[in-house]
Symmetry: C2
DNA sequence: CAGTATAACTTGTATATACATGTCAGTAAA
DNA sequence: TTTACTGACATGTATATACAAGTTATACTG
């Protein structure tokens, strides 16, 4: 038993998702939660702040914590999730094809994106995601070999993140994302079922470890009709 | 002088943006910041946690707080900002045209999106944003009259958010966003300079007040070549 | 010299206390 | 009846203390 406030966070989050605390209703007061979880008020407040941050509740001074409609979890590209984690909530009709797996010396563009040292090598992985029989997503990953020694097709077909976190025991921490719309490249047309579509949605991802070191640059290229990005944003009053 | 930890947050954030604390470097330790700001450690930590949440720094246990490259602020659609706030960082060649401003009884779709009571009225606002002489963004806003009594063309041309927060003294707090790609409608082609483009990027926004009441539904429709969405996401280890 | 142990310093977690501020219902006064 | 006040209760902020855990440099030991 460790990280008391995270345990409390998860338990309340679970109850919200199970409908035990329905949207629109109020959570028990901090005082009541203190007794229920045998914790101090600050610890309860840490858990509640996490819930607020992730869009589960809205805190109102003097009133209480209102449960929000967590429809957010439709399609959580918003957070930092791997395709495998995501796909598990999408049903079972999805396949991943590893089209390319090479250890390369990066060209200037990739070198710049990854802030890679000259001479250092980079894993280049192409993966295509097929859902309901259609090739809809084309992921181009570049990972620094410096952090990931060995990479097999099996790992790529399953989940690179899982391998990094479970096998290598490294903690993926945060990412900068950028979403733009482009015209399809030759590669896009080769690997995806693009038919007549004249655009692809490109999600560029710069992924960092715990210690703020950049280890991955990814372009996730989506067919526009199947793309959806959901976000929860709080206004920062400056 | 109030909200000590927010004051500290803003001061450090400013120093990071000014380059006084350059990316890659470490922030002073919590102990040093305590002395510098005459605050307790918990207060400093609240400020630092805000900075971490917003992508300014990465905290590493045992080491310190590393300043991140805040290129995030290129185009902060990620947060919850109005076009006016956003545009001020884009230079001066932008114009807003208020194409429509009506008080309507919402149709079923809008009624559902806003969870509006039957019989209640809703402001319908169409605005077109022109940048560098091109009509690039088409905003369709629906606001509950229940919260916003009076709305003029002047307010719409300037900033509805500014009016709500400064004049009406209500606090806009959070939003749920959804980004998808659609084929242009007749309206899109009428109001925007779409030329040959066969897609528009649609950002759907559900905007809430402080007390978790929904007051606005917006569709912000962008020409794909000018659209860019930047986000900072932390991985939540469940 | 190499390796290890330790001490100093860093951030992380948990608790307790005090007071400020916002909400709301019930009571007393006009 | 209406208004104003007050007290109970909710969350917000600021502080202090204690210990846990990760990092790093130093000093010690073989």
């Amino acid at each position: 038993m460790q990280n008391k406030y995270l345990v409390i966070y998860r338990q309340i989050a679970e109850k919200i998702q199970d409908g035990e605390f329905p949207p629109g209703e109020k959570l028990p007061s901090e005082h009541e939660l203190m007794e229920a979880f045998h914790a101090s008020r600050e610890t309860i407040r840490k858990a509640l702040n996490q819930l607020a941050q992730n869009g589960f509740i809205q805190k109102v001074q003097g009133k209480g914590s209102i449960v929000l409609d967590a429809a957010k979890f439709d399609f959580p590209v918003s957070g930092l999730v791997s395709f495998k984690e995501l796909a598990s909530s999408l049903g079972n009709r999805h396949v991943t094809y590893v089209e390319k797996l090479e250890l390369i010396e990066p060209d200037k563009n990739v070198q710049k994106q990854l802030q890679a040292l000259p001479g250092s090598k980079v894993w280049k992985v192409y993966r295509v995601r097929e859902i309901d029989g259609e090739k809809i997503i084309f992921d181009k990953d570049y990972l620094k070999q410096m952090y990931i020694d060995n990479l097999t097709e099996k790992i790529c077909a399953s989940s690179i993140y899982e391998y990094i976190e479970n096998e290598l025991q490294m903690k993926i921490s945060f990412a900068k994302k950028e979403i733009i719309v482009e015209e399809p490249t030759e590669e896009d047309r080769e690997y995806m079922d693009l038919d007549g579509y004249s655009n692809v949605v490109v999600v560029k991802n710069y992924v960092y470890f715990d210690d703020a070191s950049l280890f991955q640059y990814t372009e996730s290229r989506h067919r526009p009709d199947k793309f959806k990005f959901v976000d929860f944003a709080r206004r920062t009053h400056t």
